[in-house]
């Protein structure tokens, strides 16, 4: 072959490679903008209503829950034509960044949706409004006795409520009933209540390409066709639940000492690590898309959150049911969080009145919020949910009310999470032992605690 055709051939091959990747990418960009994709893409910014009193509302509901809330707010502005709302949806990490800059600039939005676990941090800087007069025990409209004690406590920092709860969102298990049947396991069985029981179940459910399960001596762990479990999605909240099941905690009661390297904590993490490396019933945490794996029928038991409901309904053909959070320890416990409305401390007058009206309206329509997959915060709204339509909301909502655990209230909670989450990942990916990872996490957390306390 002479040189010129050789060059042409090589350039053509390179170009085909680059072009094919580019076309895929550009197609992906275009697909993002198509409105008919299900579920509807959440608009980054939505202008709702034309009323003269304008509310700017920032939240991090990038999933289908953002669409649900926008639909509710569209109804609100229809009933309150003097108010218009602009919702701006950005992912949570970016939202924290934007909020800090906005507060410093003196131009925060009129309304924010954050998590209860972030109240302490923002309230400690004095940027959130005291909402005690909105609660019934301060003479306001929100009935305190319509919340679980844990939920109401989550709104309070140093004796003052700084938020109005929208929901309880937390963890549960999604069961692929077809995968159970493929493994010869009855999906209507009662969930195990011990670690050994769960391991046995996961072993039965984990199948290699030859159909052998993980308890079989012929099992081939290098060629798994169906995993019993998957540890990869947000390991922090799985570990946090089991930590409390063993009676452990992240911090000492006075919030001055990191206790994440306690024996209970190491045991909790080790149990998840063993599912990957000892029992071969879960893929490693990194590099495995758990939702896609479940949708493809490759994961039998998926630990995930209430927010998974719409994905399961709209984007999978899987026959599924929900179970409560798994139990490895002696006590029942499950992590949950609270989406919480917060108001900047500087908001006054007509806009404050409009924001209060909006929050009150949404609070009184929390039943509608259930279609997002989350559990309404108000107990009366939970009681109104239709069991046929909202089985997961009802089942998991009960667990949050009965034995749900919130993250500690601490002014450095985001930093503490940033200290521990990579260490959990390191253990679950075989880079460190559970003890080593948690010792490293404890050291970094203690540095933060010593600095801020």
């Amino acid at each position: 072959m002479s040189k010129r055709p050789l060059f042409a051939f090589l350039v053509t091959i390179l170009s085909i490679f680059v072009l094919s990747m580019s076309v895929v990418s550009i197609q992906a960009q275009e697909e993002e903008a198509e409105p008919e994709v299900l579920p509807s893409p959440t608009p980054a910014i939505a202008e709702l209503g034309t009323g003269g009193t304008h509310i700017s509302f920032w939240n991090g509901l990038t999933g289908s829950d953002g669409v649900t809330l926008n639909e509710m707010l569209a109804q609100f502005v229809e009933e309150n034509p003097d108010i218009s709302v602009t919702t701006e949806i950005v992912d949570w990490n970016t939202l924290y960044t934007k909020l800090q800059a906005a507060f410093v600039a003196g131009q925060p939005p009129e309304l924010i949706l954050l998590h209860a676990s972030e109240i302490a941090q923002f309230a400690s800087y004095g940027v959130l409004k005291d909402l005690s007069s909105w609660y019934s025990d301060g003479g306001g409209w929100f009935p305190v006795d319509d919340l679980s004690a844990t939920t109401y406590d989550g709104m309070i920092y140093e004796g003052v409520p700084y938020g109005i709860p929208l929901d309880n969102h937390g963890r549960g298990l999604w069961i692929n009933t077809d995968a159970f049947e493929r493994a010869g396991v009855d999906p209507d069985m009662e969930p195990p209540t011990t670690y050994e029981g769960w391991v046995e179940l996961f072993q039965q459910l984990t199948l290699d390409v030859n159909g052998n399960n993980a308890a079989s001596p012929d099992f081939d762990p290098e060629n798994v066709a169906q995993w019993g479990f998957a540890v990869g999605e947000w390991p922090f909240v799985n570990w946090y639940s089991v930590l409390h099941q063993h009676g452990g905690s992240m911090l000492s009661e006075d919030g001055t000492t990191a206790t994440v390297n306690s024996p209970e904590s190491i045991l909790a993490l080790q149990q998840f690590v063993d599912l990957v490396y000892t029992y071969n019933v879960s893929p490693p945490a990194a590099g495995f898309d758990t939702w896609a794996g479940f949708a493809a029928g490759n994961v039998a038991v998926l630990p995930t959150g209430t927010w998974f409901r719409n994905f399961a309904v709209l984007q999978t053909d899987i026959n599924w049911k929900a179970w409560p959070q798994l139990q490895f320890g002696d006590q029942k416990a499950t992590w949950f969080g609270i989406h919480t409305f917060m108001v900047p401390a500087t908001l006054e007058g007509e806009k404050l009145e409009a924001v209060e009206r909006l929050i009150q309206w949404v609070s009184e329509h929390q039943v509608d919020w259930a279609s997002s997959g989350q559990v309404p915060a108000r107990l009366s709204a939970q009681a109104q949910l239709d069991p046929e339509t909202y089985p997961t909301n009802i089942l998991l909502g009960q667990t949050f009310t009965e034995y749900g655990v919130l993250e500690p209230k601490h002014v450095a909670m985001l930093e503490l999470r940033a200290a521990i989450e990579p260490e959990l990942g390191a253990a679950l990916n075989g880079q460190k032992s559970a003890e080593e990872a948690l010792n490293d996490a404890a050291e970094r957390m203690q540095q933060a605690l010593d600095r801020v306390n």
């Binding site: 040189k3 010129r4 060059f7 042409a8 090589l10 350039v11 053509t12 390179l14 170009s15 680059v18 072009l19 990747m21 580019s22 895929v24 990418s25 550009i26 992906a28 960009q29 990490n93 924290y96 960044t97 800090q100 800059a101 507060f103 410093v104 941090q121 923002f122 800087y125 004095g126 940027v127 290098e222 893929p283 490693p284 945490a285 990194a286 590099g287 495995f288 898309d289 896609a292 794996g293 493809a296 490759n298 450095a412 985001l414 930093e415 999470r417 940033a418 990579p422 260490e423 990942g425 390191a426 990916n429 880079q431 460190k432 970094r444 933060a448 600095r451």
Partner: protein, 315 residues
């Protein structure tokens, strides 16, 4: 026309010459003044948005500066002392250096190879140039998401193709040893288009007579490249590598989107760590110390490049 011309007074015709500003300056001084005047609009913005920001960042690095706290606490060099004892910082520095080295080397080689290929007199030359440049037009978000799928162990086409060679699925983004090379591969694919254009310009500026003379002396294609193209491209290579080092030392989007810094802290880079410190931990002072330290590291690496490559450059 002639009437109009005839009504113009002589003084008006002469005005451009007589109205010119005459400063008691030498020619070189006047040229310098003109240059500074042209630079002034840029310098105003540069001083406000870059120099002022840099000075502020350096100043903040001496404080326990929490963005939302009224009143900040002066801590002197404490942030720097803490930084040099912070093992996560050193992980981030190591990852960043490895990423930068792989990416700059890979980008330079691929871009140079592509530039040499598309400057050959082949049919559809312009089309190939456009195609090879296309990935550069994509956003980091799209590139990151697409490559997560391409490299997936479950559904990725790369692992699928490797399976035909009998290779088991490789956990590109979940293996601590592979994650930085995988991010680098992604970045090379995304970013080689622009340096390719620079190399094309460099190649086209090499006089044809040099090649003709070498061919007459019996040089083959490889010798032409090695003894003519490559030496005369040294200024271009210096430019591409220096700008590449500065750019890739600040990598953020790829690990943020593709790995979240994981597995563990396997793909923490300096800017990723800066983001976490400054915006998740609210520690702007410590984050500024990270930024200043990174700037010093980049300056050192740039100086080394000029020493190694720059002194052999003929412009």
């Amino acid at each position: 026309m002639s009437e109009t011309t005839g009504t113009v007074p002589k003084s008006a015709v002469a005005r451009p010459a007589t109205s010119r500003l005459h400063l008691p300056l030498s020619l070189s001084a006047r040229e310098a003044l003109a240059a500074y005047l042209f630079l002034t609009p840029f310098m105003v913005f540069f001083l406000i948005f870059v120099v002022r920001a840099v000075i502020t960042a350096v100043n903040m690095s001496f404080y326990d500066w929490q963005i939302l706290r009224p009143g900040q606490l002066y801590v002197g060099l404490d942030n720097y002392v803490e930084l040099f004892n912070d093992y996560v910082w050193w992980i981030a520095v190591k990852n960043t250096i490895v990423f930068t080295a792989l990416t700059v080397f890979g980008t330079t080689v691929v871009a140079l190879a592509a530039a040499v290929a598309v400057t050959q007199p082949i049919r559809g030359q312009s089309v190939f140039r456009v195609i090879l440049y296309m990935p550069t037009l994509l956003s980091v978000g799209v590139v990151g998401l697409i490559w997560v799928w391409l490299l997936s162990t479950q559904f990725g086409i790369i692992n699928y193709l490797l399976s035909f060679l009998g290779i088991r699925p490789i956990n590109w983004l979940g293996d601590e040893a592979l994650v930085i090379p995988a991010l680098s591969l992604t970045t090379i694919w995304w970013g080689f288009g622009f340096p390719m254009l620079i190399f094309i310009a460099g190649i086209q500026s090499i006089p044809d007579q040099l090649y003709e003379a070498a061919r007459i002396d019996g040089a083959n294609g490889w010798q032409l490249f090695w003894y003519i193209t490559l030496p005369l491209l040294r200024p271009t290579i210096l430019f591409v590598t220096v700008t590449g080092v500065i750019s890739h030392f600040q990598v953020f989007g790829q690990p943020f989107i593709m790995t979240g810094g994981g597995p563990g802290r396997g793909s923490y880079t300096v800017i990723y760590y800066l983001f976490e410190i400054a915006w998740r931990a609210f520690r702007m002072g410590y984050g500024s110390a990270v930024a200043v330290s990174l700037a010093v590291i980049i300056a050192i690496f740039t100086a080394i490049q000029f020493r190694l490559i720059g002194r052999r450059v003929e412009y």
